[in-house]
Symmetry: D2
């Protein structure tokens, strides 16, 4: 098995997301970091790339230079990660897909639904992978939840309850802090703030675990800090393609909550509960029996869970390893293509362009419903209606 | 201080609520159980009353007999508890208030908003206490939350998140069980099932703790078990009189949850979280600081919390003691009247007819909104608009 | 069924233990409080008794007066609780047993092992019940643990791990506070402080749950606050009659712990864990399976657990109800004697003189071993060797 | 900054520890994996090395070949990890230190105290780093505990309570399973089983956090499964160089516990509690105040904690990242030497030969005391007495 090669756009010096991607891509040794355009300032990007060990000729000044440089190489990178500011994701992802590269794009994949549909189409036409980084779906026990639901352990799903509620933007005195302010400014953030930033992770997870898509939704959005144009707290009710009802609360003013991503799934014959802040336990109650604690790494879990688990039971695994599982999936997907074989189905779990598109449609639906007193609106992208 | 006397209507042999009331009323020794009409079958009621130690002439066959019997006695009971089937609460409560008795009525106080307004008016006109048993408000730390909010510890309230979600009606095979079925049958239960039964406790608690009333709401109600006419899962968004936004989820199909009554309150300068299943701890984060664990019984709590606490820190107190605190409040209210003094303000916390009325208005509002795709509706009783 | 009558010695105005006993005895309505000698100051005791509703002639000035007064009455109290200072327990308990009364004595039952043996013998000779208030054994799920062990659910017991560790005496500045100081002063507290005060509860619980007696022990005792003569932290290893090994840690300087009474029992085919601060859940793992959460009040528990449970699942029950279960046991024991029948075996769980004696022997053994570098010593009272 | 190079001995195909080390060394990109002798079967080791991307000439058949091969290269590896069976650690570590390499040795560093002293001396004489992999000391909040203690946040330490109790060897039917049996066989495991395997981690952590060494100890060791010669459950009391008393329980028959490594530290002015299974929270109570939850990644932690933290607050970090922190420390230690500068003191936390030696002395002391009824014995290696 040849080691794969990898390049990154964005994630320059001082960014939080850059090291997380390098860690995720490098963790299992399946990708070698070989190329990058790491900063919007060409010189800074080139210097930082060299500092990270890239060759001079693959330490690019901007993404266009990188596209040109890599496209013509025999040893072009196998995967490109796009971790630039949100507004540029579409353009860059599109260009690299069209250039024949597999892409992992940070969320949001695009800023509009139309762009999202375009990416889905391009990905189909080119046959190139377009993955989107809903990294929380990489946790071993989240994948086990999905497997349990898929094999019918809790029966037909009735209700899904998702949360992503933190308190890190609760200080009104901080509302003018540029680090925070842009998120609530439509000119920079688009039509939604807290739902688009955090809530969408919870919604993706609800779909991922249940295997159902969000079809309709009704949203109650508020700006608890009055100076904000976009919402900092939202409640979204929804209906899913398999008949499940959903409730999703997201907030950035929930003082006392640190991260607050949790998922509860209630079916006809059982219930499941998982929380990102304690990700190595999954709480499961079969109807009429007792609550059980499923431990990551225990014997007899699903192949999906086992593949996404690295250390023995009782040793916690955290977010960076969940993140790395997305890269591990992609490595298998790319290797399988290279080798002309079917990929391991337990790895075929990375979020893809369709997920990025559906998320964008949901963001617009939440914004629309939020402005219309919670009117129920179609949450599906036009191409999937 | 003379010991007070107490009578009960309903709560016959085999009922769950009867022992809970006798325990609550008797716990602190402030009330002597002296009269009762305990069963809808006169003979059974009289026999059970005598078995519980009531005198023969105060062990009544029905509530009318009791009303007649007690009304004419010099030593008539100081307080009457109404713990009969829901549909009879209004008639009995009304009759005893008009007969000059203080009443503690089980929830729901009435079956309609108009009846609720009538009770409020009668209570005012007669000057008699009409309390309603939202017993969870009796927990020491719930009262401390209220005190903290009132004195401004967490600033102006932005968002309240309440839950009451259990899984005890999740078994579809159980839907025809008479013990469960009546709750979802409009002919017996009225316009709402799970919200009226459980959700309303969470909503009362949100009002109790914040000191704000629910003004408008939007509800998404579903019957997860299809054969049910009334809802078994509901999400209610609301707005409160002091500007707070609320989210309330209630469910009876949440397998894995046992009781699930929790309250989170987020203000401008802090957040609070409390759960009924672990009622002796209150989680508090002041803005920009760390999460703290407030323990029931710790030094320096509010007078309201101290009055509602009986054993030393580290020893759990449970639901029966919370319940007893409602009786303890009522004992003080009645004694103060007898003695012609102002009552201890830390005891002036028992839920009253106005709360019963507002709850009924909310129940109807939820039912109306739930049928109208979540339309926002006025949740206030007409008399308070 | 005639209601039983009850009297108390000690527990005067302002005491913590008095209200707890009145609450415990009165909770289920099985005992009427009819007599008392509540204070070491005769006038204060008489006045307080009358304030609590006792008749003038049964509101006694001291315990001797009460013994004389009650002994000659036809309606003498059925049970006497002794809740006086520790050093007086022996004398009073002895006198009342010899006077023909059933007694519930606060712990410690005596100050020496010889006295303990005397009480055991008197109880046997007189045929009167002598119960000792190890009240934590009254919790429903503690009784369920005992039942599970007895019926073999976790196989032969290998190891028991018990703790009672709090931090309420950790402030060195507080060491001279009279409220705290006496506990560490041999002249007032005897041979042991923290073990005798708290650790002994944990040791009783280990015996209660496993059904095995402590035979030998080795103790490491320290005075973390140097000015103390008696220990404020101790580790005790022990061996039990059925072959189990035990580890017991007790401390009063464990800052951050509020109460800290926990019990873990590990057998050949399963493990159990319970904590007093969250008493409504019991954690159970059958060998090779998953951790399960047993909830107080769930269907299918043992008769012993059901009898000690009052409210429905999901509603917490706390320490006062555990305490009340000791009285509930005693009510059944006394009624059964009166009616000449065998008592309900599920009620035959109250701690008795033998337990009080064994505890005293363990206290002396801990003190002896602690002074002898942890030498293993016999922990049994001579009469049981 | 030049990237460092790294080699490994042991950790062949199918081993658990190999991937953990490769992950730890590679995580931050500071070490390139360049050489290895990965298997005791030369051909298998060479093949696996090549499969992992090593050059043919640095994919060695055994450690002697690797020592010869690397010693003569200009680009010899900067660090060698020894992850072979325990009995070979001494010989290999010694040889590589004498060969001029920095070494990270898996625990136990040696099988005897004398060997441990020899390694300490060789490390001093050669000036080469000899680190030992007590990897749990790499957790961010463990390092913060150490920093808090060092700066006096909880005052002089009184009592340390450590645990490492799991149930993975509780099945008697499994006692003959070769995977388990060897651990309890003196011929293969030495003088101690559970204490040497797990307990020693807890003891290292007690020393690491308090900055005090274990001087004397008393042990109660048992074989709960009778066929075992060595202990599967032990309680160790100890005294530390700064005056702290310690209690340490370790077990492999504690059914229901998964990992069970916890540490509680109680000082004159505060208490701390941390558990490996939920490593992102640290519980802290300042004397007379409330319990606080310190979150990994929160603002204002110590430099030691910050350096050992990679992702933002609320995202869990697990054991692999703790492990990686040992490599991160070593990278800084080696780079500082290369650059002739003082190393970052916040990185100077990796366990070293002295820790490996002290651990071995403690293991022998536990074995000795356990056989002598808990006699207190000196736990220090002779060279440190």
């Amino acid at each position: 098995m040849t080691k794969l090669t990898w390049g990154m756009i964005g994630g320059g010096e001082g960014s939080q997301i850059g090291p997380a991607h390098r860690l995720g891509a490098g963790l299992d040794g399946e990708f070698s970091f070989m190329a990058g355009a790491l900063d919007h300032r060409p010189d800074a990007g080139r210097a930082y790339g060299r500092a990270l060990g890239l060759d001079v000729d693959r330490s690019y000044g901007d993404w266009r230079e990188m596209l040109d440089g890599e496209r013509t190489r025999d040893d072009r990178v196998d995967l490109v990660t796009v971790a630039t500011p949100n507004a540029t994701h579409f353009e860059i992802t599109k260009a690299f897909l069209e250039g024949g590269f597999h892409v992992l794009c940070e969320k949001p994949m695009t800023m509009t639904v139309a762009e999202g549909e375009e990416i889905v189409n391009i990905s189909k036409e080119t046959g190139k992978i377009c993955a989107v980084n809903y990294g929380y779906s990489g946790y071993s026990l989240v994948r086990h939840m999905k497997a349990m639901v898929a094999r019918g352990d809790i029966g037909k799903i009735r209700v899904v309850v998702a949360e992503f509620a933190h308190g890190h933007h609760a200080d009104a005195a901080d509302a003018d802090n540029p680090r925070v302010r842009w998120r609530y400014d439509p000119a920079q953030a688009g039509v939604s703030a807290q739902f688009a930033d955090c809530g969408i992770h919870a919604m993706h997870m609800a779909s991922f675990v249940t295997g159902q898509e969000v079809e309709r939704l009704s949203a109650d959005t508020i700006s608890a800090i009055g100076s904000r144009v976009l919402e900092d707290d939202a409640m979204v009710n929804f209906r899913m393609s398999g008949g499940a009802a959903g409730r999703l609360w997201t907030s950035s003013v929930a003082i006392g909550r640190q991260h607050g991503l949790t998922l509860q799934v209630f079916g006809e014959t059982g219930g499941l509960r998982w929380a990102q802040e304690q990700p190595n336990q999954l709480y499961y109650m079969p109807l009429g029996q007792r609550l059980q604690v499923i431990e990551r790494g225990e014997a007899g879990l699903s192949p999906e869970a086992d593949r996404a688990s690295r250390v023995t039971i009782g040793h916690s695994e955290g977010m960076p390893l969940a993140f790395a599982n997305i890269y591990k999936d992609l490595a298998e997907a790319i290797q399988a293509r290279k080798e002309g074989r079917t990929m391991d189905p337990a790895a075929n779990l990375y979020p893809r362009a369709e997920d990025g598109l559906r998320s964008m449609a949901a963001v617009f639906a939440v914004a629309e419903s939020g402005k219309a007193e919670g009117k129920w609106v179609d949450a599906r992208p036009p191409m999937f209606r």
